[in-house]
Homo-oligomer: 388 residues x 2
């Protein structure tokens, strides 16, 4: 028996959207409800994610606004904010609620607007987003998130000899996948040479090692296992693990190990009764190329130290033995912060339904999503399966 | 059988605190853990509330920071933001999780810093807090929260003839109660004449009709019903209801009725198997005196239209037939936004244990808490009982 099932999925294109947050969310939410064949009167609760609406556009308490805008006023709504893991955390809580019988049908999703076109220049948005770093110990040092992941990746390079060229292969792969994804922010390919020619953002990351800030929204309808078969093309949620890590980074014993990802993955795999070997592909949180390397190891998809090598060898390509980020990942698909977690769930659902078009992972039956927030602090790992 | 039990409660004084958010939260959290006799290794999850840390001090993703600071790094943590109902929503989700067997022992709480002494002048904080009003339809009109509740209250005055003098009686009562509460922001009495002599903030509210912004934190330990008796002085959580209302205000059919409060109360009473008549006292969300009038009616504690009359007649005093806000309420105890919801739970627990000192409601066996967020949008109502 699955913990729950995803019976509807929707998302906007990731990129630039000149519409208010609640309208952007509604576009994804209504698509998910329509896909599920669920009426608004059937939805019992909304688990809503938005990370930076307060700072970026003085917009908080968005839960009831989002619910009102899609015709769901009245039901219980809760807003989650856990940095980049915002909507994965909403998803976890929704799955728990459905699994426990608290609700039978819920809507989960997230939304964010981060692009200069919506009034936030990249420097300001970087400063705003640095609010997810430690206020006393990290922010005063000027640590922003390229620096956070540069620190973790540098340690990995020191431990294992991972190279900048290997990191570039992650970017090249994800851009290649993104070129096949009609909803990707960056729909074009790149090359190792082009990545290595880019300006340094935070050593070892160059411009093309970094994901963009995007505007976008994503949503899924989650229902109880015993209701799933009354919908078209349900996808099972087999396991969801969630762990946090100590902050600030200086207190982490082994920063490049990303312990919360390992703890969350272990929990998700145990619930699913299936380990890393049984995953046909993965969507992981590649906010920077180095983050994908760390995640691929933390999830057990490759051996420790082999994350960079695997990318360079093509093992993580769509036709490799451990395909990672067929969507293009945050790197190419884009990263509307609070929408990223449930967008990974949307991607898993499409492949497991066999509806991912040109980027479809052949015969995909089981996959894992990894969404990370802050300085490797909040991590949610979800395992999904095609329904037998 | 109760849905869950509160076995530990802690809170800081509400007022001015010159300590970072995570230290302020830790003070309440460690007091709650100590009160419960629970070790940090026993806590399975943290349900954390903070409303405005992003805008007020560029501090987000506070869940892992708060957990790390009290020795809970590693466990699942989720941050809730639902305006003034932030930590009541965290409490609801925690109770659901414990009731459903997802966790056995969890920590729930909230924290906020809002005072000029921590760097936010009142005008700036009012503007920040207005982010919880509708971004497209209310903020551009200059609507801040004194105005929101003035609109609701004016309608109540129009419908029922409620007077400014009756509203003043709410302030006088709550200041009288706050004077007996060693943790209250305003520990002094006032008079109807003094309230009516104050400057108008938003007609019909004068200065003393309005609660302050405060700094503070609160936390409770929630455990499964079958574990409660292994702790000293458990207090049962009999019911928790949660509903939202349509936004913006212009879309509400009858604004002064506060429908979400009625829906949430109906759910909480049904779960508890006890109605308004069975409540020995109530803590309600009196961000403004008029809000207490509306809440007292929505919870069924007095008849519709009688909220102002009941206050003026002394019925809602500590020795009245429907005591409301023995803590002093938001009005006198103070209002550190994200900490207010669980602070109400702390107050209920203290009375139901018979440990509320000078402000103790005699023989209190059952009580209700009402926490409201935004423009009467998110409302959580909780019923608690002394354990038989």
């Amino acid at each position: 028996m699955a913990r729950a099932a995803v019976v509807g999925a929707g998302m906007t294109t990731f990129g630039v959207h000149d519409t208010p947050l609640q309208e952007l969310f509604a576009a994804a939410a209504l698509e998910a409800l329509d896909d599920a064949g669920v009426e608004t009167t059937d939805v019992e609760a909304l688990y809503f994610g938005n990370a930076m609406g307060g700072q970026a556009e003085n917009d908080t308490h968005l839960g009831p606004t989002a619910a009102s805008h899609v015709g769901l006023a009245g039901i219980p709504v809760q807003r989650y904010e856990d940095a980049c893991a915002t909507s994965a955390n909403a998803f976890k809580n929704a799955v728990q609620a459905v699994d426990a019988g608290i609700h039978d049908v819920v809507l989960v999703g997230g939304v964010e607007r981060c692009t200069p076109e919506t009034g936030k220049d990249t420097a300001a948005m970087t400063r705003i987003f640095a609010s997810a770093a430690h206020r006393q110990y990290e922010q005063p040092a000027g640590l922003t998130f390229p620096g956070v992941f540069a620190l973790l990746t540098k340690r990995h390079m020191h431990e294992y000899g991972t190279t900048e060229e290997q990191l570039a292969h992650v970017a090249v792969k994800n851009h290649g996948n993104g070129a096949l994804n009609p909803r990707a922010h960056f729909g074009r390919e790149t090359s190792v040479e082009a990545v290595l020619d880019g300006p340094v953002v935070a050593d070892p990351f160059r411009l093309m090692d970094c994901c963009p800030f995007s505007d976008g929204a994503s949503a899924v309808v989650v229902v109880a296992d015993d209701l799933a078969d009354s919908h078209d093309a349900p996808v099972d949620v087999a396991g969801v693990g969630h762990a946090t890590g100590v902050v600030p980074i200086a207190d982490k014993a082994t920063p490049h190990v990303t312990k919360p990802a390992r703890d969350a993955a272990a929990a998700a795999y145990e619930q699913a009764g299936a380990g890393a070997d049984a995953m046909d592909f993965a969507e992981v949180h590649d906010c920077f190329t180095g983050a994908e390397v760390l995640a691929s190891e933390a999830l057990g998809l490759v051996e420790d130290g082999q994350g960079g090598v695997a990318a360079a060898d093509g093992r993580t390509a769509r036709d490799g033995d451990v395909p990672i980020n067929p969507s293009g990942g945050l790197k190419a698909k884009g990263h509307p912060i609070g929408a990223t977690g449930t967008a990974q769930i949307v991607e898993l659902a499409e492949h497991l339904r066999g509806e991912a078009g040109e980027r479809q992972i052949a015969d995909a039956e089981r996959a894992v999503a990894h969404n990370l927030g802050g300085d490797a602090a909040t991590t949610v790992v979800s395992v999904m399966e095609a329904r037998p």
